[in-house]
Amino acid sequence: MYEYDMQKLLIKNGIVVDPLTKTEVKRDVYIEDGIIKDMPPKQKIGGVKTLDAENSIVFPGLIDMHVHLREPGYEYKETIKSGMEAAVAGGFTSICCMPNTNPVNDSKVVGSFLLDKSKSLNLINLFPIGAISKGLQGTSLANIGELKESGAVALSDDGNPVEDGALMGRALLYARTFDLPVISHSEDSKLRGKGVINEGAISERLGVVGIPSIAEEIGVARDVMLAGYYGANVHIAHVSTSGSVDIIKKAKQSGINVTCETCPHYFSLTENALLNYNADAKMNPPLRTEKDVEAIIKALYDGAIDAIASDHAPHSKDEKDATLDAAPFGIIGLQTSLPLTLRLFYGKKISLMQVAELMSFNPAKILKLGRRGSLQNGYIADITLVDIKKEWKFTENSIKSLSKNSPFIGEKFKGIATAVIVDGRLIEAN
């Protein structure tokens, strides 16, 4: 991986997909001092480096709004650096990291650590997500104003739901004071109980405790109702069931300010992936049924789901080499997120425009990440270049993450990010 430092950059002949103007045309993109600008008159261009993007798709920089970096505290699973390198290989120019580190990101100290580290790495943008509750304990509010001041772009107790409805309701209100979005891991944890995979025919066949789909749906219903009642916003993380999609769709129709994301595994795999007790396919929410996968794909198409996020959750080989009961929840996803999404494009389920909306424009809007998510004049020059025709195989060796817990190892894909541009800086991706 190497970088160029450039003041002026011209990306030539790419197919530029811009969600703001809803245009998908072959054109050039001109960048000056890290900002996308209208093309100046020919004679005035001097000292411009040119990047040939013939046969490439030029997307606004992809944003993964749901990533678990394990630093501080669990550097053997992932560091900020290794996570960012995986993100670059996956075509991301921005990632948002969840606060369930050790210590938890519920204070200025941790928030500043993350941003300082990110700055010193000088790779891609890191936007920390702060905790809703102190220490993720679900018993008192974290110092949310302080978190905002130390750079948090959103709040979440992701990994666990905020069980106490009063705490969640007041968190939505208090966070609104600071204009911070709240991302909810919506779940009734008592209903999840000791479940490890989706409750259904497969959990019966395998003889393991199941997680009922209603554990998620009851949580989603509560949180959209809280948002509706209090007139606040809520973003639902990792939607995995058809029922959750229905609840969110109805909530949106009734005017509730709810947005949501799903993850590539929920539209790519079903609970069948667990038939051989493969712990690399164990995550929470769990892989669901064919019917759920269809509903998720339909919702990506019709707009009920706003964003695709990886929920990248690295765990070491030793941790995942275990029984379904013992292995931790979570799979890595930074490098497979875009390729799996492109499968939907090739399957004629969604358009490239929708890819750009789901993976860049909408996350930028939901998290208010400033002038990101578009390639129009004046936007920050965060750009992802994708060779959508390139056929390749996802191997363990190609994984940049310190953890290798992916059920997609060995799979063939069509389409890969070739380079990302962050603040006008070109970084080779693959």
């Binding site: 102190k134 008192s140 509010l141 110092n143 104003g145 106490d164 209100l173 208090y174 004071t177 209090y230």
Partner: protein, 307 residues
């Protein structure tokens, strides 16, 4: 002018001219407190019972002094040494005291609606000295009086009320009182402590501290209780101090002749910088002084009401 109600339970029961009548009357009674002999025979032969179910410094002593200066016979029931500790209900307490033929009750209670409840069981006048999170009408009247003494026309003022509005009986009374007189009332607090469903003309929710304070003619700061963090209303007192305190810098953006009020007790350097109080930039003690006059006026007006 006259006032033809038995009780003073809620500011909502008063018209704008009622409010002015109470304040004009209080201005007259204020003179008594400035005399060498601070006593008039106005309420001679009248019996007033003060029942404070909650601790109070200002309100209780203010009512007691008002009663003494007007020559009423008054007694204050120490709730902690009364049969309330044996489990006697509020209704029975009032019915028994009622049998002793008092002319007025002054009641402070932790439950909203307590004064309203008591008024149903007595022929005596009831003055609400604070009921739960509901209302504190005499505090509102003394706040308005303090403002009117310096600013002639309340209707043209921007009044900012900042702090734990949701749990504040002072805020609830002040919001109704000041808006009834036509002031533009701006409310600000963490959204978890704002009333969300208030529907009053002239009342706005400010977007931030800066908007609330900017060019304000009157700023009413409210106390935040530590316990609010336990019920998730705020994260901590430290964070409250950092984001919701009236600081000298903020205050400098208010109107040049801004009046800063606080009903007390104050948490210095939590909701308001101690230096603002130390620098004599608040009206806190003027409020307390006017409190006696307002309570004299309330007793006088209610006890002159012919049942």
């Amino acid at each position: 002018m006259s006032f033809n109600k038995k009780d003073l339970i809620s500011i909502k029961d008063l018209s704008a001219s009622d409010i002015n009548y109470f304040i004009e009357t209080a201005k007259e009674f204020k003179k008594i407190s400035l005399k060498d002999i601070k006593k008039v025979p106005t309420l001679r032969g009248k019996t007033v019972v003060n029942i404070f179910y909650e601790p109070s410094t200002r309100t209780r002593s203010s009512f007691e002094i008002a009663q003494k200066r007007m020559s009423a016979d008054s007694l204050s029931i120490a709730v902690s040494q009364s049969s309330v500790t044996k489990g006697e209900s509020l209704k029975d307490t009032i019915l028994n005291l009622e049998a002793m033929k008092p002319d007025a009750f002054v009641l402070r209670h932790s439950e909203s609606g307590a004064a309203h409840f008591v008024s149903k069981w007595t022929k005596a006048s009831v003055i609400n000295a604070g009921d739960g999170i509901n209302e504190h009408p005499t505090q509102c009247l003394l706040d308005i009086m303090t403002v009117i003494e310096e600013k002639k026309d309340v209707g043209s003022l921007k009044v900012a009320i900042i702090g734990d509005i949701y749990h504040s009986r002072v805020a609830r009374s002040d919001i109704y009182g000041f808006s009834k007189l036509g002031a533009d009332v701006y409310l600000y607090a963490p959204h978890s402590l704002l009333p969300r469903l208030i529907e009053l003309k002239n009342v706005k929710i400010a977007r931030n501290m800066e908007e609330a304070v900017k060019d304000a003619d009157v700023i009413i700061m409210l106390r935040i209780q530590k316990e609010r963090a336990s019920y998730y209303f705020i994260p901590s007192i430290e964070e409250y101090r950092n984001f919701f305190q009236l600081t000298p810098e903020l205050l400098s953006t208010a109107s040049k002749r801004v009046m800063v009020l606080h009903p007390g007790p104050v948490n210095r350097d939590v909701e308001i910088a101690g230096s603002i109080i130390n620098g004599g930039k608040t009206c806190i003690f003027k409020q307390v002084e006017n409190g006696v006059a307002i309570r004299m006026a309330c007793l006088y007006i209610l006890l002159s009401y012919k049942k």
